[in-house]
């Protein structure tokens, strides 16, 4: 295991320790309320009783955006290895990747034309 990988894992661990220590410190230092009221723990909905459930079935348009995102993210993941060796592969590589991207952009054009990403 290389030092950099180890360092990265340790760094994440340290940041976790820092973040949780703040919560722990808050637990230790907090001033308890003299009067406890169940109203405090009521869900906030502008001072009214909450109307109906919150965890409802959402509109599929959110899902479609996530789907399109994953597709483009995948595209980016495929472009990343190429981006390191652009010099080495030269123009041929650029064209190969351009074909890849162009095919995908056909789908993008279709989506834009059909207003699938318009959200309304």
């Amino acid at each position: 295991m290389a030092t950099a990988s180890l360092a990265a894992i340790v760094f994440v661990l340290i940041s976790a320790v820092v973040a949780s220590s703040l919560v722990v410190a808050a637990k230790l230092l907090r001033v308890r309320a003299k009067v406890d009221s169940p109203l405090k723990r009521r869900t906030y909905e502008c001072g009214e009783e909450p109307l109906g459930p919150t965890w409802i079935q959402f509109h599929p348009r959110y899902y479609v955006v996530a789907l399109v995102f994953v597709i483009f993210d995948l595209e980016a993941a495929f472009l990343l290895p190429w981006s390191l060796i652009v010099r080495e592969l030269g123009m041929a590589g650029v064209i190969e990747v351009a074909v890849f991207a162009l095919i995908l952009m056909l789908g993008w054009a279709y989506a834009v034309k059909k207003d699938a990403l318009k959200w309304q």
């Binding site: 994440v12 410190a25 919150t54 955006v65 990343l80 390191l84």
Partner: protein, 319 residues
């Protein structure tokens, strides 16, 4: 073991800088709105961040009865962890780096993308309609701007031929700062990066997940005390780290004349940070559909064009 030392130093410096960056922003915003900002705690209100921290630590911690307790408590911690962890691969000087991963840029992008999970988690776990709407908005917005952000960051990667941020700074030392190229793909890529980072860190004009005039406080509506504080802190850390990444990828990192590299890096980071906050206190905010449209219809193809421009420049320039 010097990397361990740097890790601790970088995290400490990051946390303290965040606290006083907050003070800086408040002063800046106050000046822009013809106010004074914090003045009471310490000289020029300089101790205000400490007072804020102490106040937040003492606040009562309220768990809403309808909330999903475990996720509700976990979300702010995870948000802060992801915000801090991003900085691991950012070089602040020659060798001043916590983890010199050769996939630095990818690490940054991955952790930036991860931020939305705890934010959504907080929105869902609060079992509050405003919070949930805020969480859904946050995810939809972040995923839309993730793609342009990846594409914009790919431009320096292609030019330098490496994903290591140290290598990218070295490349800029040998050539010139990428943001200083007035032509394609330098400056436009920098602007695209800035725009997408603004959206990723939920800053105005893209702060619709919080949108306090619409969603009260978005995902943090039900949060109190230090847990709210962690969201607040993570937001500023994220902005600060985005500024640092922008400085390293496009503004030549620690390179600069006369002063030591560390100073230059901090100066550039703070410069970008101040820019982001001047934008914040100047502009109004977009609506969600306009935001999504901007990302998908304009920024994604623009990013792709810039990536291929960079590739062509590299191939023809033979640099």
């Amino acid at each position: 073991m010097h990397w361990l030392l740097w890790s601790v130093v970088i995290i400490t410096v990051l946390m303290t800088t965040t606290a006083w960056a907050l003070w800086l922003e408040r002063k800046l915003a106050a000046r822009m709105g013809s106010r004074l900002g914090p003045t009471m705690v310490g000289r020029h209100g300089l101790l205000q961040p400490i007072a804020d921290l102490l106040k937040l630590l003492q606040k009562e911690d309220i768990l809403p009865e309808a909330a999903d307790g475990a996720l509700f408590n976990l979300a702010p911690i995870l948000t802060a962890v992801f915000a801090i962890a991003t900085v691991a691969v950012v070089p602040f000087g020659e060798g001043v780096i916590a983890a010199d991963l050769d996939i630095g840029v990818l690490w940054v992008l991955a952790f930036g993308g991860l931020m939305v999970i705890p934010v959504w988690m907080a929105g869902w776990a609060s079992n509050n309609k405003f919070a949930l709407l805020g969480g859904m908005r946050a995810v939809a917005q972040a995923v839309s701007y993730e793609v342009p952000l990846v594409l914009a960051s790919m431009v320096p990667v292609i030019l330098a031929g490496s994903m290591s941020m140290t290598d990218i700074v070295h490349y800029q030392q040998q050539h010139s700062w990428i943001a200083l190229w007035p032509t394609l793909p330098g400056l436009p890529a920098f602007l695209l990066f800035l725009l997408a980072s603004l959206a990723e860190s939920n800053r105005i004009p893209f702060d619709i997940p919080e949108a306090e005039s619409e969603l009260v406080a978005g995902v943090s509506t039900e949060y109190t005390g230090m847990k709210f504080g962690l969201f607040y802190m993570a937001e500023y850390i994220h902005t600060l780290v985005s500024s640092a990444i922008g400085a390293a990828l496009f503004l030549g990192g620690w390179s600069g004349p006369f002063a030591p590299g560390l100073h230059w890096m901090l100066l550039k980071t703070l410069g970008l940070f101040v820019f982001i906050y001047v934008v914040r206190w100047t502009l109004l905010r977009f609506r969600q559909d306009q935001l999504m449209r901007l990302a998908w219809v304009w920024l994604v193809p623009m990013g792709l064009v810039l990536v291929f421009m960079a590739a062509v420049v590299v191939v023809w320039g033979g640099a």
